[in-house]
Amino acid sequence: MAELTYRDAVARGIAQEMARDPDVVFLGEDVAKAGGVFKATVGLLEQFGPLRVRDTPISEQAILGAAMGAAMTGLKPIAEIMFSDFFAVCFDYIANEFPKSRYMSNGQTKCPLVVRTGNGAGSRFGAQHSQSVENWCMMIPGLKVVAPSNPRDVIGLLAAAVRDPDPVIFLEHKSLYATKGEVPDGEIVDTLGTASIVRPGKDATILALALMVPRALAAAEKLKAEHHIDCEVIDVRSLVPLDTQTILGSLARTHRLFTVEENPRLCGWGAEIVSIAADEGFYDLDGPPVRITTPHIPLPAADILEDIALPTVDRIADRVKRSLGA
């Protein structure tokens, strides 16, 4: 066991997989010599050399296209897109190429790759460098989509993503890079498609992802302390595959559902899960399922505004409390 930052967990996770499998290669802008703009890939060039850890031009389409071509022909590339907002300049690969080639070719084409990216708000970077784009990915059939909330999950889910035979979008949260957590020694390999109940509770189920997980947990503690409301908090971790069973199972016990989403409101993962719950868990629901989200706006740069845009601990707690009529 050692304490590790989320940032360092990224490098350790990549290193673990590169050391294991020579077919794992890594490319992106400023990832090699500079160790990444978030310093999440420091040391990889030194450890694995310039043939496996490669700096690229500012050519996101070339990065993802090259990753795909390499994946189709036998490598297991990890591609970094520096900020998830930049998915928009290479979205054809994410939406049209990676996820459709296997289907269109009737199973011939393989695409075992991972796209890592810095996702989410909190750095006062403004509307084009702060987005949460998990719903941009979840809506595309054929992708897998993962978003870890802690260092241990970073390593375990990254390993699972690299070993997965399908294209996986791996969303690292920029505001979590500096956070720390206990990480076991040795190899860590997790399983995609598994949510985790990070706080058991009986009065309501709160679903959260990435940066929203610690906030949901803090809100649950607050609700407990101040209002004796005992919330179950689930770290969704993997949007695709989605661990619907764990979610519906929790709902069946608590009878109330809240989602805490950072992505903007419309067509978010919360909408998907709430819709599943409203359909399949309708008779379990004792009250309206509620989505707590960033409002449907571009994100402001100013700290004071950004801070109130994202769901806060207080807003989460308050919304749950009001819904439960406490």
Binding site: A62, A66, P77, N96, M104, N106, L242
Partner: protein, 337 residues
């Protein structure tokens, strides 16, 4: 005027290759024509983009390849697919969306893929496959494999961003990839000259990537073959990418929906005079190949094609279960538990 030197059938190309090229030219010509006929009979569904008139490009590049070399094609990819040896039944079956098709009808005319033949897919989003070909070439470079990735695209494709990113990327990384621009003078219906800042949409950009400007006659399979060999050798020797612009012409419209009325009077006729099949038939004769050998090739091709056509007509539609297979590598489509 100096007389052309007499050429022996075993020049740099040689009789075997030439006969192979001729067979392939005829096979593609006839298969594309057949696809058109089947469309008129309402047996080809969806869209289709024929290479009638452009056969020599596909044939020259494919016949110069070694097994293991990889082709990346566009929606106008029937020719390139056949040229790698994919059976015509598989191609027609796919166009007819039958269960015997190359992808059992799941991909359709625009997405022909046969990895066992090195056909790594046909891509229908303009420019998308150029970076993908770079990636395959990167794998070869990284693993020390000797195969070349060959990426075909049209003149219109040179104006999209992915073209630029791929060319620069390939040049900087010195990747064993050959970019082949089939300049057939038109994007869909708009003449390429009206939307491109330079006369040669590909060759005119080569220097922007430190590459040689190469324009070849795309109607002469021999010229194509020689250009291909040179580029492949360079790629295999670690010399990096090439960009080759082939001047060619499509006889029919852009796709089956297009009667191609936008073309100036006489343009088609001019190109028909330089028909790649005709040119090559003459070439064979020039090298002393007997008429009856040539005839037999044509007859063989037609027999196979007729047979394939019948098989496709008789083939069942794909089973409905195929709808949800192969979304993921486990063969299924489960996005949830």
């Amino acid at each position: 005027m100096a007389r052309k030197p007499a050429r022996a059938p075993n020049d740099d190309i040689g009789e075997d290759v030439r006969l192979r090229m001729y067979r392939m030219l005829v096979e593609i010509r006839e298969a594309e024509q057949r696809a058109f006929d089947l469309f008129l009979q309402n047996l080809v569904k969806g869209t289709s983009h024929l290479s009638l008139g452009q056969e020599a490009v596909a044939v020259g590049f494919a016949c110069a390849m070694q097994p293991g070399d990889l082709s990346f094609c566009t929606y106008r990819g029937h020719a390139h697919t056949l040229a790698r040896g994919v059976p015509v039944e598989k191609v027609l079956g796919e166009l007819m969306q039958r269960d015997n098709g190359l992808m059992r009808g799941k991909g359709g005319s625009m997405h022909l893929t046969s990895e066992e033949h090195g056909v790594m897919g046909s891509y229908a989003i303009i420019g998308a496959h150029l970076p993908i070909a770079c990636g395959a070439a990167w794998r070869a470079q990284y693993k020390g494999h000797s195969d070349v990735s060959v990426c075909f695209f049209g003149d219109g494709t040179t104006n999209i961003g992915a073209f630029h990113e791929a060319l620069n990327f390939a040049a900087v990384w010195k990747l064993p990839v050959v970019f082949v621009c089939e300049n057939n003078l038109y994007m869909e219906y708009t003449p390429i000259g009206e939307v491109t800042a330079v006369e040669h949409p590909a060759a005119g950009r080569a220097s922007a990537y430190g590459l040689e400007a190469i324009v070849i006659d795309g109607q002469d399979a021999d010229e194509v073959y020689r250009a291909a060999m040179k580029a492949y050798e360079k790629a295999r020797a670690g010399g990096g990418p090439s960009l080759i612009e082939c001047m060619t012409y499509r006889y029919s419209g852009h796709s089956r929906a297009d009667p191609a009325k936008y073309r100036p009077e006489g343009e088609l006729d001019k190109w028909l005079k330089r028909d790649p099949v005709k040119i090559y038939r003459e070439r064979l004769k020039q090298f002393g190949i007997e008429e009856k050998v040539i005839e037999k090739i044509g007859a063989d091709v037609m027999r196979v094609l007729d047979d394939a056509t019948e098989k496709c007509k008789a083939a069942p539609m794909p089973p409905l279960e195929l709808l949800t297979t192969d979304v993921y590598a486990d063969g299924g489509w489960a996005w949830r538990n």
